[in-house]
């Protein structure tokens, strides 16, 4: 299978960056003339900022846009907007909610708005895949590209959760910081271009409670690890015996819950590290799921698109 070539990256993280409407590309807002920006959900706004940073003003031809996909992963999807919309109806009656808020309650709102804004007419896919959403979105992009579903894509993840749910994620012993924001990678099929990195493989599995690799998947699993010199993977006791011990290992800070952005910290670390080939993994311990992508670094500029 062919590698998926990732050309640039854009991200915005709440807490670290914050964002204002001024960060949003002007053309984004003009694409929705009947909807004032205050009625557009924060996931869509963050996705718009991240996509703008990934593209850095590049103009795409109509031909490229026709077969250009948008693939977004998320853990909670539009839950923040769902709760706000519902609360309004509960407190003030269902006939007081603003119908302009309703489209924000579907998880594909952000991806669709990116497609409308940039006139990207290839498949527009939103995955609500929990803690492995970002890696699964990249895996979907790699497989979809090879399946001939599209030629180019924006692939990434987004996360924002209702504030009142955050206490459910923390335990008294280990208060958790929750990573919220959006990230997009631009995967381009154009030749002779500079690339950040390539994706050359993807594997994802929900394990049985014994955490063994099942027989049907074993050869595929074993074939993944050849040539790997670097592994970015959260530390979760259940999965440790599966992972190779003889590679350089990076584990994201366990006090930060990455949720749907799981793998982003490892990716950024990989891009700034010395190694050239590695595996980036995301783990959902409660869903016994491990997803990973195999990556090869090209030019290693982690700041690309993050301004």
């Amino acid at each position: 299978m062919k590698p998926l070539i990732l050309r640039s990256k854009g991200e915005v993280l709440l807490g670290r960056d914050g964002f204002t409407l001024e960060s949003l590309p002007e053309t984004f807002q003009k694409s929705f003339p009947d909807v004032p920006p205050k009625y557009i959900d924060s996931l869509s706004l963050m996705a718009g900022i991240a996509a703008g940073r990934a593209f850095q003003g590049t103009q795409l031809s109509a031909e490229v846009r026709q077969n250009f996909a948008v693939i977004l992963g998320s853990g909670f999807g539009a839950m923040d907007s769902v709760v706000d919309f519902d609360r309004q109806g509960l407190l003030n009656g269902p006939n007081t909610v603003n119908p302009m808020d309703f489209p924000n309650t579907v998880a594909n709102a952000a991806g669709s708005r990116i497609g409308i804004w940039l006139q990207l007419k290839g498949p527009n896919v939103t995955l609500t895949n929990g803690d492995t959403a970002f890696i699964d979105a990249i895996g979907f992009a790699w497989e979809g590209f090879n399946d001939g579903l599209f030629r180019d894509c924006l692939v990434g993840a987004m996360e924002k959760i209702p504030a009142f749910l955050k206490p459910l994620a923390a335990s008294p012993a280990a208060p958790k910081e929750i990573k919220e924001g959006a990230c997009f990678l631009w995967a381009s099929s154009a030749e002779n271009q500079e690339a950040l990195f390539e994706v050359t493989d993807y594997f994802s599995l929900q394990f049985k409670p014994d955490f063994r690799v099942p027989g049907g998947h074993l050869s595929r699993w074993e074939g993944l690890w050849g040539g790997v010199e670097w592994l970015g993977c959260p530390t979760h006791a259940s999965f440790e015996s599966l992972l190779p011990q003889n590679v350089s290992r990076y584990s994201p800070n366990p006090a930060v819950l990455e949720l749907g952005l799981g793998g982003l910290d490892s990716l950024n670390h990989f891009l700034s590290s010395a190694g050239t080939q590695g595996i980036i993994a995301a783990v959902s311990e409660s869903e016994r799921k491990l997803s990973l992508i195999k990556v090869t670094k090209k030019k290693g500029d982690p700041q690309n698109g993050n301004n």
């Binding site: 929705f32 998320s74 853990g75 909670f76 999807g77 539009a78 769902v82 709760v83 919309f85 519902d86 609360r87 109806g89 509960l90 407190l91 009656g93 269902p94 006939n95 603003n98 119908p99 309703f102 489209p103 309650t105 579907v106 998880a107 594909n108 709102a109 669709s112 497609g115 409308i116 006139q119 990207l120 007419k121 290839g122 498949p123 527009n124 896919v125 995955l127 609500t128 895949n129 929990g130 492995t132 399946d147 579903l149 209702p162 009142f164 749910l165 206490p167 459910l168 994802s204 599995l205 929900q206 394990f207 049985k208 099942p214 049907g216 998947h217 409660s286 869903e287 016994r288 799921k289």
Partner: protein, 413 residues
């Protein structure tokens, strides 16, 4: 590339909680729509919806697994069990196979989200449980199905609003076709949602009385709930074990209007693109298509633009039968495309076209034959199942009759 067959089907919707019950009700043109019980409809402009009324299996499941699964997961497990059952596969059979579990949903565990939202609005946060943090994420639906079956496998949950189920079917088809998986449970699910009902009410998209797809006097859609599951399997493997094959999946197409968040493209561009891609993958030309299961929501805009897309592909005098089972069960949101795919499989397998009920007057802007009001015999071999969504996401799946199907092996007949 391998061929992909459908060997198991499962469905729960307002017309019943078993495949045969739902199929027979649809042949008779029954309606599952009525005055809402899930919430007090008094403050709403529109007061009807589609609710799962035959709750025997669901109630029993929830009694046996108290508090373990939320509603979307429970429905998905039950429909998956039914699909595995009529494919004559048990959990033990999944052990040695490469299995996928792909679901689509618009709002996932929306009833839990609404309970959490209510707890917040009423300042009863103590009612929230730590486990709710995981359960409210849609990924938990696919996880729960495999967990309940005791299986390992690949999981994906697609949230492309009302087209979600077709995305799941397409992905499962692709992974089996390429030899990555041996079988895949592919479905769509959405329990009844206060948020969806309120939102569509406020958008004035709902019909006050009945859903009349393609009828000149159509007034809108009906919010509903349900689940549909298809068991996709490597065709050669299915035939080797003597399984009944309802039909083959021939291809799928995903498109994008890139036009508006809530209105379809007036020329049906995304719909046309997805039909075109699906037919191209299946190697079909327009004369090869015998039947179309429409998205057919019953809104003035959808039915008109879907008709434009169909006529663009098949000609302005297209006489291909195009039905909408949403006329009978309402719009089950993320489950709609999966339930429609289930019924399309049975249409090919059993040779009966299901009706579009409530059709009253022609509309020159719409397709010519919507199988109005009465089911009828059908001898076609190839069908399309369309599904479109908020945001302009469009999809189409091709299904083809399996020649020489093993009639006797179909336990649901």
């Amino acid at each position: 590339m391998r061929k992909v067959g459908v060997t198991g089907l499962g469905v729960i919707c307002p017309l019943g909680d078993e495949l045969t019950v739902v199929w027979n009700a649809m042949i008779e043109g029954q309606s599952g729509v009525g005055t809402l019980q899930f919430l007090d409809p008094a403050p709403y402009r529109v007061k009807i919806g589609g609710e799962i009324k035959h709750r025997g299996r669901l109630d029993e499941f929830e009694r046996e697994n108290p508090g373990r699964y939320e509603r979307a997961a429970a429905l998905s497990i039950l429909a998956s069990q039914e699909a595995l059952g009529n494919a004559r596969l048990g959990a033990a059979d999944l052990d040695s196979l490469r299995v996928g579990c792909f679901f689509g949903t618009t709002m996932g565990e929306i009833q839990l989200a609404e309970r959490l939202s209510e707890a917040r609005a009423k300042n009863h946060l103590e009612t929230m449980a730590p486990g709710d943090f995981k359960k409210v994420q849609s990924s938990h639906i696919a996880y729960s199905v495999l967990d309940f079956l005791g299986a390992a496998g690949q999981t994906m949950v697609f949230s492309n609003a009302c087209a979600s189920g077709n995305y799941a079917i397409g992905w499962g088809f692709e992974k089996i076709r390429q030899g990555q998986l041996d079988l895949a449970l592919c479905g769509g699910v959405d329990p009844f949602s206060r948020v969806a009902f309120t939102g569509f009410n406020r958008l004035l998209s709902l019909t006050p009385d009945k859903c009349r797809p393609f009828s000149g006097n159509r007034k809108g859609l009906v919010v509903s709930e349900g689940v549909g599951v298809l068991l996709l399997e490597d065709l050669e493997r299915a035939q080797a074990r003597g399984s009944h094959v309802y039909c083959q999946i021939g291809g799928y197409g995903l498109g994008m209007d890139a036009f508006h968040m809530t209105s379809p493209h007036p020329e049906g561009n995304g719909a046309y693109e997805s039909i075109l891609k699906a037919m191209a993958q299946a190697g079909l030309a327009p004369p090869d298509v015998d039947f179309i299961s429409a998205h057919g929501t019953g809104t003035p805009a959808n039915d008109k633009t879907e008709s434009i897309a169909i006529k663009k592909m098949f000609g302005s005098d297209c006489r291909i039968p195009v039905n909408s089972i949403k006329s009978m069960i309402g719009h089950t949101m993320g489950a709609a495309s999966a339930i429609e795919a289930v019924m399309t499989c049975l249409t090919l397998d059993r040779g009966i076209l299901l009706p579009t009920i409530n059709w009253e007057t022609p509309d020159e802007n719409c397709i010519l034959d919507c199988v109005p009001n009465q089911s009828r015999p059908f001898q076609g071999k190839t069908a399309l199942s369309n599904s479109f969504a908020f945001g302009g996401n469009t999809s189409c799946v091709v299904m083809m009759k399996q020649e020489g199907a093993l009639e006797a092996a179909d336990p649901s007949k």
